[in-house]
């Protein structure tokens, strides 16, 4: 896992945490520091920082802004109150307006009704006057027959027109005929000359009058019409209409209706107590006129209406407070004037609806204001929370940025450090794919990092001779789970040279404890290894010459040693000849003695060499053949490894010891193994195999050393053991000869055969000890 990845995942984790924190904050869980496991100290510190900051900020704000806040709040309350009041006012006005319109309509309809009554009955007297009997009666008032006829006519007229009464008067005010002529309260004979409607009609005018009947005592609406004969007024026809029906219909309405005359006296009212009461105090003249005309009967005084009136300018209506049926009520009143009759109609409407409407509007406005206020508060709260969150977010962003920067720095530092390393670093994932290499490793294998990244085994730098070993090592490393370990490995550089390395591999464990692969540090130990090999070779060389001089050295030493006595012999012989010619007998004898002595010496040297190869029987001992083989392989170990030769052994079980000299037997084996090595030098490493086999055959042990080389040419098989025979340019040709001599000295035989599959097999036998 590269460091970038770790970086990114870290940032992701921080973001995730931040998200979670925000949600917690929203849900109100995170006011205090969290109780959950916080893994990131940065986030935690950022949070606490934000919390502390916002707390101190709000405290200082509270202190600094308290009076401003109060001012603002009271202003807001004031404005709200005003607005509510205005809304109430507006609703009231609107309701009033509606009411007034309704009143106007009601008044109009009432006025129309009244006008209708007047219009309906207005022409009746005139129609009645047109009857010739009426005219005749007025000319002849004493004609009883006529009078009787007119009476019947008027009665019939009255019945048909649904009026209260119809009567006709002479110019001096005496009633000549009436519709109620045969009832108890008959107008006939009565004089109504003082009545205004009579006087006005006498003057030739059509006249209206409301008043209480003089005869009947019941109020009624009098319409009078002059009866003309030509231009002369000869009488007056009057019709009386009762307004009781109208008044009764008013009494049924909820709100009072009042009709007043031109003097302000109420004569029709839905409220009976208000009848014949005056709006304003009446003047003396008016009172006198009323008394004289007997308009409202015998009453002489008129009480004031128990009304309290509040007028508002600019409005046709006014407020009216009055006690109705024992209850103080408020009304909206509207007056309409009926000009032809001189009356004024007052219609009212209960003000309760208006106040109700205002109250409702006020309540509604207050509710609305409350809702708005709450919404505002909520919005403010939301804003504050949002700004807090944004603050925290910004802080976190900054932290993350800082952190990222730090990580980048660390990354750059690490990169520089890794590049500066001389040790090669390589990381692999669990599938064995290379996920990381540093520069030193690239230099070591000669491949660029982009060529190596993602590579799966076999890697390009694996040595072709060691593929099996890599697999084993790799399996070993996979099995070695959590334990770091090291092994030696030979790899091949891109340019073909071998690099010997020591590889230490340790598992990569991630934060969850999972194994994500392996990290290997690779140390180039080629130079060290070569030095070790050289040292080892030298040691081996020393060991070998100490144990047994090599064949060439032995020959050289032998030659040198033999040369000495030989030359001495030659010298002595020549000297002896010289001396003999000089006849110096004593010196001659001495020289001849020396010659014998030198001959003896030469003989001893030869003897010694023989004795060396064929030691005395006393130096033989019981030898473990397998130990001899093992030790020989140890001595040749580095040689075998360098040439990558595989040695297979098939050793007999329970091998008894043989009789022999261990050092000499080792020499024989080393010689045979070296021959085998040299025979396989040109083969590929994978084919270089030496097999060693031991067998027990009766009283002898057979030891075989086989190689996979080309074998011995058939024609030369007989000669390989001959002294000074060699197929090698630098060979002395004594090795196999000495081996055979040594084996024979042990009482055994050394033979060679070629295998069918190729290669030579050397076999020698040894006798068991005892």
């Amino acid at each position: 896992m590269s460091i970038e990845d770790r970086c990114r995942s870290r940032i992701r984790a921080i973001r995730l945490l931040r998200l979670r924190r925000n949600t917690q904050k929203r849900s109100g869980l995170c006011r205090t520091m969290p109780d959950c496991a916080i893994v990131d100290p940065v986030v935690m510190s950022a949070h606490s920082l934000v919390a502390v900051k916002s707390l101190s900020l709000s405290l200082s704000l509270l202190r600094r802004l308290s009076w401003q806040r109060w001012l603002r709040w009271s202003l807001l309350a004031l404005v709200t109150g005003v607005v509510i009041a205005l809304v109430g006012q507006w609703a009231e006005q609107r309701e009033l307006h509606i009411r007034i319109q309704a009143l106007q309509q009601a008044a109009q309809s009432t006025v129309l009704g009244l006008g209708g009554i007047a219009a309906k009955h207005g022409y009746l007297p005139y129609a009645a006057t047109r009857h010739p009997d009426v005219q005749a009666l007025l000319r002849h008032p004493a004609d009883t027959l006529l009078r009787d006829r007119v009476n019947r006519y008027l009665a019939d007229f009255q019945t048909r027109t649904d009026s209260a009464a119809l009567f006709v008067m002479s110019v001096d005010g005496l009633t000549l005929a009436a519709s109620n002529w045969n009832s108890a309260g008959s107008f006939v004979g009565q004089s109504y000359r003082q009545r205004p409607y009579f006087m006005q009609a006498l003057q030739g005018r059509h006249s209206y009058f409301y008043g209480v009947g003089l005869t009947t005592g019941t109020p009624g609406f009098f319409i009078s019409e002059p009866v003309r004969s030509g231009d002369e007024v000869i009488g007056v026809m009057v019709i009386k209409v009762s307004l009781d029906t109208l008044e009764h219909s008013w009494a049924n309405s909820a709100d009072p209706v009042v009709l007043q005359d031109s003097r302000g006296i109420v004569f029709l009212s839905s409220e009976p107590e208000w009848r014949y009461r005056s709006r304003a105090p009446l003047s003396a003249d008016d009172l006198a006129w009323l008394a004289k005309n007997w308009q409202y009967g015998e009453r002489t005084g008129y009480d004031l209406l128990p009304w309290r009136v509040l007028r508002t300018t600019g409005s046709p209506a006014y407020e009216l407070h009055a006690v109705v049926k024992g209850q103080l009520r408020s009304f909206l009143a509207l007056e309409s004037v009926l000009p032809e009759l001189g009356w004024t109609l007052v219609v009212t409407s209960d003000l309760k609806g208006v106040t109700q409407a205002r109250r409702e509007a006020l309540v509604l406005a207050a509710l609305l204001a409350a809702v708005l206020l709450l919404a505002g508060l909520y919005w403010q709260l939301h804003e504050r929370r949002y700004s807090e969150q944004r603050q925290a977010k910004l802080e976190l962003e900054r932290r993350v940025q800082e952190r990222t920067h730090d990580l980048e720095q660390a990354q750059a530092f690490r990169k520089a450090m890794e590049d500066a390393l001389l040790v090669g670093m390589r990381a692999r994932d669990p599938q064995g794919r290379i996920s990381y290499v540093n520069r030193a490793f690239c230099d070591m294998v000669g491949y660029r990092d982009d060529e190596l990244l993602g590579c799966a085994p076999p890697y390009p730098y694996w040595h072709p001779d060691e593929l099996d070993k890599y697999r084993r090592d790799r399996e070993g490393s996979m099995l070695a789970e959590a334990q770091p370990y090291g092994f030696e490995s030979r790899i091949r550089h891109r340019d073909g040279h071998d690099v010997i390395t020591r590889v230490y591999t340790a598992p990569l464990i991630d934060a969850l404890g999972q194994n994500q692969g392996w990290m290997s540090s690779v140390v180039d130990i080629t130079a060290q290894k070569q030095a070790e090999d050289r040292q080892h070779d030298q040691e081996l060389q020393l060991q070998r010459s100490a144990r047994l001089a090599s064949v060439g050295e032995m020959a050289s030493t032998l030659a040198h040693e033999l040369n000495q006595p030989l030359m001495a012999l030659s010298n002595f012989a020549l000297a002896a000849r010289n001396i003999a010619s000089q006849a110096q007998m004593e010196v001659l004898v001495s020289a001849l003695d020396d010659m014998v002595e030198q001959s003896q010496r030469a003989s001893e040297i030869v003897q010694r060499v023989r004795g060396f190869i064929n030691p005395r029987r006393g130096s033989y001992e019981a030898c473990d053949v397998h130990a001899v083989i093992a030790h020989s392989l140890v001595l040749l170990k580095s040689e075998l490894e360098r040439q990558a030769v595989t040695v297979t052994q098939r050793l007999a079980e329970h091998m008894p010891s043989v009789r022999g000299n261990r050092v000499l037997l080792e020499q024989v084996l080393i010689n045979l193994l070296q021959n085998a090595l040299q025979a396989m030098q040109d083969l590929p490493a994978a084919e270089r195999v030496i097999d060693i086999e031991t067998m027990l055959l009766g009283r002898t042990v057979q030891i075989r050393v086989g190689d996979a080389g080309p074998g011995v040419p058939e024609g030369l098989l007989a000669q390989v053991f001959t002294p000074f025979f060699s197929t090698k340019p630098e060979g002395l040709g004594l090795g196999l000869n000495i081996c055979r001599t040594l084996v024979e000295a042990h009482g055994g035989h050394l033979t060679v055969v070629n295998r069918l599959g190729g290669g030579a097999v050397f076999t020698f036998t040894l006798a068991l000890s005892v």
């Binding site: 030659a559 040198h560 006595p565 030989l566 030359m567 030659s570």
Partner: protein, 199 residues
Amino acid sequence: MSDTALTLYVVDDDEALRRSLLLLLFSQGMAVRGFESGEAFLQAIDARQVGCVILDLRMGGMSGLAVLEQLRLRHSPLVVLFLSGHGTIPMALEAVGQGAFDWVVKPDTQQLLEKLPVALVEAQARADALALWHDLTPREREVARQVGLGQSNKEIARKLVPACSPRSVETHRASLFAKLGLANDNELGRWLTRHTWLG
């Protein structure tokens, strides 16, 4: 020029071989001294003597080559004849390169007896040359060396200590040519090359 008594030495660590050589050479009428090691030899003799030494190449202690090196350092006029085995012939060749006169392969006594007189003639020549050299004044020897290096009179005059005029160099040159019996610069050069041991 008269025959100087030339000394003959045998250096060999093999007692029998040494004794046999001494007896052989003695029987031929030569004065021979034997040494059992190179160290003993170098300690006992005067390196400035003229003579011939038969050296064994392969000895315990100082090797023949080491002895030769010591003699060369001491500007010895001794003529060196090596005894070499078959295996040490490359060594013998190297020794000749370093100033040895010749070598004899063991155990060929006949060859030794053939080469020894030639070596003795060389030793005599060296004895004569040494005698002539000793006749020169130190100044003349110095001039001779410089002439041998191919320097002009003027340069020699400047290099000499104490310095002198080219004319006096010319005088020395004439004198030394007369003493050594040489005719010109070339002959002197050859003579000096032949006797590098003069130092």
